[in-house]
Structures are given as structure tokens and as C-alpha cells.
Point group: C2
């Protein structure tokens, strides 16, 4: 048991806000921050580029259903015939060891996950504006206008959940967003409620 | 009226923890953070090095007592026959303009000030240990052992108030303390509750 517990950070935001890019850049830039990305479990078949325990925990359907039955998942969903979910144990283990864990997850799953971990901190990634979000989705050039409109409509709905999150992170400039994300993590680690042991230790040596 | 209000940060901590040094270094290092140190009012006579509105607001005894009578001070105290206090108006004006204001103040005054400003954020500066605090006070070589013991005893009392503060800042290494202080400021500026206008703006452009 570490002197200081880690913190679970739930990073959500509408599709196209670039939360994945911010996380990727943060972990590349700060590999020694004692902060780790949560690994999802899935029943889909591994691809050649997959690494067990790095890209996913690969499970059989039976194993996954056991996890569901034993309340072993913070959230899960079925998608194209496969299960995807967040196993609680590795997250709780890392937190107990004093590590921060980042869960990058869409808004509905994020709200569910925040209820499952004590003192989890929600960060909601916002586009600079909806016009900009639309431009980003259009410029990907991979989706029809109908799909884009449905994504925007979902984004509008998702933003209604923002009060369940503690922080906003506006992805206007990647560099700034990464540094701001890191400041949120550092700031949270300094909260009085997260440092009872350390405060006690400072005082005990009186 | 700015789109985003600023925040009042109350920085307190026992004598000898180095809160003044951290603030001085922070303002030297980051003069463009839109963050300003609150200026106290006093009835003491200006010294040659004093600059009105920079080191202090200099007031007559009558002016100061008017401020007290009109609830114009967030806190005040009498010391060696002179009044010292924190005028509310300049702090509220800066916050309305979107600036952050830092009040560096001892613990008793800090607790009082936090009640006077909406959403003020308290940061409690701690020594790495009480042994280290004692060493620092001894090595100043300006005070008798009795005075040092009384300071330490007061420090122990002051730390009992730490739950009224949101954050701790351990002054082990000045450079690290300055950067951590800045992260707390940046993190707080991203809180959902402080960004209602910006969230509305992002959504309005749907």
C-alpha cells in the first residue's frame, strides 16, 4: 500500500474532439508521470498489431460473461457481436499502488465509470466550437453528411452531461491541451482530501 | 465584464514554510499568467522603498476605519499600533475582469478571507516535515529558541485548520513548488463550475 493513493481520471468528450490525440501525445511526452492508460477487455480476435495487456486484455466470451456476472467491470458494452469493457481490478490495483489511471471513454460510459470508482475525476473534452467540430468531422472525409449530422446531434446531447464532470479541456491547440491536461492531474494530486496520509506524516514528526 | 471570471487563491501556511518565496518566484517566472498578488492596505507610514498601490495602499486612520465600518475589508488586524487589511474592492474588480488574485496571508486571516470571496480556493503551504521547519527557523539565526518554539507550537495549531483549504503545497524544492502552484492555478481555471459561460458559448454555435 502506497502512502498516497492514485486517482482515476475519466476523459470523455464527443467524437471528433480529439481526446485520443491529446492522450497519445500526453503519454508520449510524459512517460514518467506515474500515470497510466486503462486497458480495456474485449472478446474480439486479436489483430497482428495487438499485444495482450497493452492494446487490450483478450478474453473468451465465457471469461467476459464471468466478469459481468461477478461485477468485475466498471462498464461494458456489446458492439458488432463483441464485448468491450473496463475491468475494475487492474484499475483498483494501480490506484492502491499510488498510480494515476486514465480512462478514455465516451460520455455515457464515462458517467457510469465515475460512479464505480471512489473520487474519480471527470475531464470533459470540448471542441473550440461546434462549427469547428463539424469542420473536423467533414475534413476527415470518411463519413457521409448524414453520419456527420448524427454525430453532431449526439455531441449536443453528450454536452448536456457536462455537469457530471469536474473539468473542461478545450482542444484548440494540441500542445496547450496536453499541458493543461497535465496541470489538472498535478493539481488534483495536491488536494487536501487526497493527502491525508502525507499531512499526518508531516505533523507526526512534530 | 469578462467572459470568464477570475479566481481568488488564498495561500497560507505556518511561518517558515516559505510561502512568500514561492509567490515571489512564481510572479517573477510567470508575469503573463493573468494572475496578480493582492495588495494590502495599511495605516503605517510609507518607507522610502514603498510604492503606493504596489507595496501597500496607504491609508489614514480615518480612511481605514471607514473601510472597516463599511465592510470594505475581507480581513484586518492591528499590529504595533497600525492597521493592516485586505480591501475587498480591488480583489472583486480584478476577478470580474477575469484575473486571478493571490492573497498570501497567515492561516487565521486566510480562513476569514475564504468566507468573504465566492469560490475562493485555499492552498496550504506545508514544510516537508516539522524537523525541517525547525531547522529552517533555527538557521535564520534571528530568533531565540523560545520564539522558535512558540512559532512551532503555533504551526501545529495552524495545521489543524488544513481541512478548510483545498490544496496542499509542500515546499521541499522551490522550483517544484512553483511549478506545482502554477498547475493548481491552471487546473482550477478548467473547472466546469468556473466555465459556465464558455460552455454555453461552445454550445450556442451549434
Amino acid at each position: 500500500m502506497s502512502n498516497k493513493q492514485g486517482t482515476v481520471f475519466v476523459v470523455s468528450g464527443p467524437s471528433g474532439t480529439g481526446k485520443g490525440t491529446i492522450m497519445e501525445e500526453y503519454f508520449k511526452r510524459y512517460p514518467h508521470d506515474n500515470t497510466f492508460l486503462s486497458i480495456s477487455a474485449t472478446t474480439r480476435s486479436p489483430r497482428p498489431s495487438d499485444i495482450e495487456g497493452v492494446t487490450y486484455y483478450f478474453k473468451t466470451k465465457e471469461e467476459f460473461e464471468d466478469l459481468i456476472a461477478n461485477d468485475g467491470l466498471a462498464e461494458w458494452a456489446e458492439f458488432c457481436g463483441n464485448y468491450y469493457g473496463t475491468p475494475k481490478k487492474p484499475v483498483n490495483d494501480m490506484v492502491a499502488e499510488g498510480k494515476n489511471v486514465v480512462l478514455e471513454i465516451e460520455v455515457q460510459g464515462g458517467c457510469s465509470v465515475m460512479e464505480k470508482f471512489d473520487n474519480a475525476v471527470g475531464i470533459f473534452v470540448l471542441p473550440p466550437s461546434f462549427t469547428e467540430l463539424k469542420n473536423r468531422l467533414v475534413s476527415r472525409n470518411t463519413e457521409t453528411i448524414d453520419v456527420i449530422e448524427s454525430r453532431l446531434s449526439r455531441a449536443r446531447e453528450e454536452i448536456q452531461e457536462i455537469d457530471k464532470y469536474e473539468y473542461i479541456l478545450i482542444n484548440d491547440d494540441l500542445d496547450k491541451a496536453v499541458e493543461t491536461f497535465r496541470s489538472i492531474l498535478i493539481g488534483e494530486s495536491q488536494r487536501v482530501i487526497r493527502n491525508k496520509n502525507i499531512i499526518k506524516e508531516v505533523c507526526e514528526i512534530c
